[in-house]
Symmetry: C2
Subunit: 345 residues, 2 copies
DNA sequence: ACGTGTTCAGACAGCGCTGTCAAACCAAGG
DNA sequence: CCTTGGTTTGACAGCGCTGTCTGAACACGT
């Protein structure tokens, strides 16, 4: 039997096509008895609306595009990050019967703007979730905005911007981590910064400063080194820090890759972690639980962030007005074995 | 300016709508001079065909569905596996201007059949790539086949089946690994099997047997223990093996999670790897390169497999006849630090 | 000149749904 | 009874393309 169409349902239920459409789309103003008749017909014929026809007639798709920088394209194994985002976005999509289109790409690609506008004009998704670091690249954001497709960025938005964004409280949680380290008795807490272009990562440094202040510790420029999010930069910075005569007793790195590098360096230098040195990171990559000692870090609620982002997109057209144009979802400390009380000095 | 339609292009080029359609779809029988005229008009108007309209008119979509069991739904951190599959499928999709729809799901869900047929009838993808272990579940495969959507399974197909499948040479490569271990002088090579429902994993055991035979080693039932692919089962099996008086000098596990467990157990028992014990796995998960010692294992060409699968799907309708209905893409040994010469005994 | 076969181009009818608008219906009040 | 205003339903015209079919143009042999 060929697939049932809306006409078949209308005939069987003895109503017009349009009424069936109303029932399917849960539009108001359908008498209860009519609705039931239609629903029975739908069930009997196992009718499923043809998505392509709906898309064409309604001039919009039920697709959410998730655009992110593809880490494995150049050897950063943070697959968990991607999977988490996908899962969050998918949760939101499924609730609303939307589908998810994924589009990993390379942030170093010069034609990225063109690539994305082509994608968008082809597939015409109802909305785009754009992950960091792409969401910090004006070129990319502008290319997407020029297509008039609703966009939500997964990164801290500027307060003045009309752009919707979902972020986590990088700054506050980093202050919390710093206070936690201070509460363990650490006085010399070093910080390894991340890549400067990454806005969220910059906030982490500000949080570190806040935390020091709140704990009554004095800031020392010498304790701050600039990394670039890579494992290798973590190695370089940690070596500099730990080979000093007055080495820090704690290192807080702006991401886990660099924190793991610090653990590795400490191991090579024969420094006990956490006995002589506490190390904390940010991201909670899967490796954080697999290395020895397991890494104290901060878990971004990436999955809930992306879910929220997709939900914003989907609700946008329902006129459920978005109060703020920037939503924050709090991160949480994951205390593990790489941090401990400061040794008496 | 409102988006250009095919009519606009036709008018500008001074041809009919249909001719534009021919150019866009690269159909034959268009005079070169006409084609150029049309292409100029397309470029001038920045025309992009409306996918929804094409889908409706042509009764097919340009979507490939990738359906897989979502490991993180129940705590197996093999995100890399998923990412690899996605990347391969995406490569194939991009070449053909298809889009990828991902659908992670839980193989333990009882309504999976229903869930998938609903998905398929809604989104109407042009084809489905189904990953193991779902591709080994008759219920799931039947549910998908009943929708008449072209399907390619990512797992060894039965020779007699009409079903298309793409697989790797599990058996041959495991024989090779076994021979490699034997060539290092190992006489007592243990094998930890995987979950029995996973067809590819069963083949790994057969490969082990082949390898023993080819190396002139005698098979001993005592050296084979049954795991279930989980880290924990790897721990249990390894402990049994290593606490014996005549412990094996090499352990070959049917997947990396179990092999990593073996390394952990050896470490706890004070057994040096690879000095006293060689350990090999299968999968080449990212952890394999991160643990100490790095794990000798087998890399599945998952990304190329899924690319091939999607390509088969996309070409199917182009009548590029598929010669065999089962394609094999060879895996490769990744020799690292967890294997070494057998100690003199 | 004519037929015959082949290549190229256009007319037209949908694909299956939704948006718009108008008609029918209904309850309440005069 | 009729009006009024709200609720419920249906007719109809597309949405922007592709598939089918028919016609025009052209090449070639007779």
């Amino acid at each position: 039997m060929p697939k049932a169409t809306i006409d078949d349902v209308a005939n069987l239920a003895g109503v017009s096509m349009k009424t069936v459409s109303r029932v399917v789309n849960k539009e108001p103003n359908v008498r209860e008895s009519t609705r039931i008749k239609v629903e029975e017909a739908i069930a009997r014929l196992n009718y499923r609306p043809n998505q392509s026809a709906r898309n064409l007639a309604s001039q919009r798709t039920r697709l959410i595009g998730l655009i992110y920088d593809d880490p494995s394209a150049y050897e950063i194994p943070s697959a968990g990050y991607v999977i988490n985002m996908q899962q969050g976005t998918l949760r939101a999509c499924r609730k609303a019967h939307y589908e998810l289109l994924i589009h990993p790409c390379n942030y170093r690609n010069n034609n990225l703007g063109e690539e994305l506008s082509e994608l968008i004009e082809q597939a015409r998704p109802a909305g785009i979730v754009l992950a960091a670091p792409l969401s910090n690249m004006p070129k990319v954001v502008k290319a997407i905005e020029s297509t008039k497709t609703p966009l939500v960025c997964l990164s801290p938005g500027k307060a003045d911007s009309q752009r919707l964004s979902v972020a986590t409280n990088d700054r506050e949680i980093c202050a919390e981590m710093t206070r936690y380290l201070a509460s363990l008795g650490h006085k010399r807490i070093a910080f390894i910064t991340g890549h400067p272009s990454h806005k969220a990562v910059a906030n982490r440094y500000l949080g570190y400063l806040d935390g020091l202040r709140q704990s009554g510790l004095k800031f020392s420029e010498r304790l701050v080194l600039n990394g670039d999010n890579s494992f290798d930069s973590g190695v370089i910075c940690s070596e500099k820090l730990l080979k000093r005569k007055r080495a820090p007793t704690a290192i807080f790195a702006a991401n886990d890759d660099m924190a793991v590098a610090a653990i590795r360096v400490a191991d090579q230098l024969g420094i006990d972690v956490p006995g002589q040195l506490s190390i904390a990171g940010f991201d909670d990559i899967s490796l954080a639980r697999q290395i020895f000692p397991t890494l104290t870090t901060i878990r971004q609620p990436l999955s809930r962030m992306s879910e929220q982002a997709a939900t914003l997109l989907i609700n946008e057209r329902n006129d459920k007005v978005v109060a703020a144009n920037s939503v924050t979802i709090p991160a949480s400390l994951q205390i593990r074995d790489s941090t401990g009380p400061a040794r008496d000095q």
